[in-house]
Amino acid sequence: MKRTIFSNQLLPWLLLAPQLAITFIFFLWPAGQAVRQSFLREDAFGINSSFVGLTNFRALLSSPEYMNSLQVTAVFAVSVTIMSMGVALLLAIAVDRMLKSARVYTTLLVWPYAVAPAVAGILWWFIFNPTIGVMPYVLDVVGYDWNHISSKTDAMLLVVIASAWKQISYNFLFFVAGLQAIPASMREAAAIDGAGPVRRFFDITFPLLSPTTFFLLVVNIVYAMFDTFGVIDATTEGGPAQATNIMVYKVYFDGFIGQNIGSSAAQSVILMLLVISLTVIQFRWVEKKVEY
């Protein structure tokens, strides 16, 4: 690789400056503010303020609501990731087998990705609305009384479906690309050796797809933990009885609605630490097992 050597010491910094400024203004500075706020106890208007050390963190870790939110986030993120990646992979394999119509299907399947999370939330909220929705009516025929307003399970299912649906298109595109990159000759060779379609998938296709799968795993977990705020806000608002109150939503609710800035800041600091460690784990350990 060719290395560029700058003779002037200032020029590289100048070239980096716009990016550094953006990182500082939109990440480092707010993050620093959050860390500072997390050690303070303050009223809504900021008139009384005092340093309270780790009180906010201690209060959180001893709060059953926060423990519940951690658990809900874990269940939600894992379910969304499995569902969106699983369905996307199935669709990608199906499209990969088609010759003529693959392009049309690909185009159609990408559409949901263009839908904003809040809109996706509202769409599914309508479909599953216990009073006016289509799905509860259908489910009622088969004997299931759908009600995400009072049932915690139904509420969780609703937000998982709405969040996963939106992400399927994205995953699908990457899986289709990944599948097309696998040389047909390898699968044909296996077929000649007598391996069935299932065997071929698990022994050849899936391992060769692992870079794509790994990348999508990271993207999907991050998506489920942060980008789904709109879905939650538009459908369940964290209810019923905090059954869908994921960590990001709780940060918003306690901070913006509840005006408890200290606790909200402490929560975002914990979230930040969590994401940093998740990313480190993923790149340190999981990536080593991926065959590129």
Binding site: N48, I132, I149, I257, S263
Partner: protein, 438 residues
């Protein structure tokens, strides 16, 4: 962001057009749709009525969004002179000494015409300090009432002119309606917190918290797990299991009105301010209005119901002439004609006796429109029915909803659920107190 730009653009244009130095007074509010247009009409009336001040209304979204925006603006020293804050934000606003200018003080400082006794005690009582001084200017106040489907009542063989008065009748009528097949459910309700807990307590003269429901200071704690409230929640659970009552969801209960409009449920308890909306949606049936039901074995019931809605708070740190403008504007707002116009249009309660008197003709032409005002003035408010004032109350309302949902799902009984409301609510109140006493 776009809202901010729009608002500043409006402000800019307004300041340019006011060539002879009219003072601009910013008013941030949360009235969207038709209420918002009416509000702008009222402001226009004020701006044209005098030469010195120009009130600029800006819509800032929902109540919580408006309050959050105003607080953030205050922290950045960009606050408006006037902001509309919903009733559960009262505790937070009141405790923010130094950030607000109490209305009674504003009117006195500016030498404005202001007679506090002209206001309805049930409305103003919610927003006074312990000495009875008014802290904010009531603008849109409402109270929950009972709406019922007269056509269904008739089909079920009930007298359509007689809404149920007691909870016993509520159950009896509901069962008769369901047995006759006139409707599949007896009743539903908006606002489990505001209607079935807070108003329920006031209506039965039961305390919601210590120290006059929190009016006495930051040491007050919740006590709404008394036997009367427990009995009511127990019944709501039993009625849910029997199909007599259907839960409409947390906060305002968004799913409750559709159940009433579609004639699945024969009755609904909801804000008096939703009157216009209910009439617009009740196309296929005759609509009736009644007061909230009560338990006749509870002494002192019915007492009076309490209000919801919002008031206008004045924030500190603006130039003095803006306060003169705000005082003038409040004089105009509380005048009988403006009040009567606003209340007749919106379904909110008039805030002064003079306005209520002026609406006599309107009430005569619109039967049931006076249900709310009759209900809040039924008896002089006691310390249990004056209102409530606790810090972090937006979250406490959330706790009430959650624990009610725990009750419905069967994971807690009524006593357990209300005990949890008190325990979790008091933690939030303690946190609020710690934030303010340091």
């Amino acid at each position: 962001m776009s809202r901010l730009i729009t608002a500043s653009a409006v402000a800019l244009i307004a300041s340019l057009s006011a060539a002879h130095a009219k003072t601009d007074v910013q008013w941030w509010h949360a009235m969207g749709g038709e209420l918002g247009s009416k509000l702008e009409e009222i402001v226009k009336g004020f701006n044209e009525s005098q030469e010195d001040y120009n009130v600029i209304p800006s819509y800032k979204g929902t109540y919580p969004e408006t309050m959050t925006a105003a607080i953030a603006a205050f922290r950045a020293q960009e606050q408006p002179a006037i902001v509309q804050v919903f009733e559960v934000g009262t505790g937070t606003m009141m405790a923010a000494e130094g950030a607000i200018v109490p209305v009674h003080q504003l009117m006195q400082d500016q030498g404005a015409e202001f007679d506090q006794s002209a206001f309805l005690p049930a409305v103003v009582g919610y927003y006074t300090d312990t000495d009875g001084n008014m802290l904010s200017m009531p603008f849109n106040s409402s109270t929950p009432i009972l709406y019922y489907n007269k056509s269904v009542f008739e089909k079920a063989g009930l007298d359509p002119e007689q809404p149920p008065k007691t909870w016993a009748e509520m159950e009896e009528f509901s069962k008769q309606i369901m047995d006759s097949g006139a409707a599949s459910c007896g009743f539903t309700t908006g606002w489990i917190s505001w209607i079935q807990t807070e108003n329920f307590s006031a209506w039965h003269n039961q305390p919601i918290g210590t120290m006059e429901n929190g009016f006495g200071g930051l040491d007050a704690r919740l006590t709404l797990n008394g036997p009367v409230q427990v009995k009511h929640w127990e019944n709501l659970k039993r009625w849910t299991d029997e199909g007599v009552f259907k839960y409409g969801g947390p906060v305002g209960g968004d799913n409750a009105p559709p159940m009433f409009y579609s004639q699945d449920c024969a009755m609904i308890m909801n804000s008096s301010a939703s009157r216009a909306g209910v009439i617009a949606n009740a196309k296929d049936f005759e609509l009736g209005f009644g007061m909230l039901p009560y338990y006749d074995d509870v002494e002192g019931a019915p007492q009076n119901s309490i209000i919801g809605g919002a008031t206008l708070w004045v924030l500190s740190g603006r130039p003095d002439e803006e306060y003169a403008g705000a005082a003038k504007f409040f004089e105009y707002l509380s005048s009988a004609s403006v009040q009567a116009d606003w209340a007749s249009f919106s379904g909110y309660l008039p805030i002064t006796q003079a306005a209520a008197d002026e609406m006599a003709g309107f009430f005569a032409e619109n039967p049931g429109a006076d249900t709310g005002i009759r209900q809040i003035t039924l008896n002089p408010p006691t310390e249990n029915s004056k209102g409530l004032r606790f810090g972090n109350y937006v979250q406490i309302r959330g706790v009430i909803d959650e624990e009610f949902e725990q009750l419905l799902s069967g994971s807690k009984d009524a006593q357990g659920a209300l005990d949890s409301v008190v325990e979790r609510g008091n933690k939030l109140i303690e946190e609020f107190q710690a934030q303010h006493q340091q």
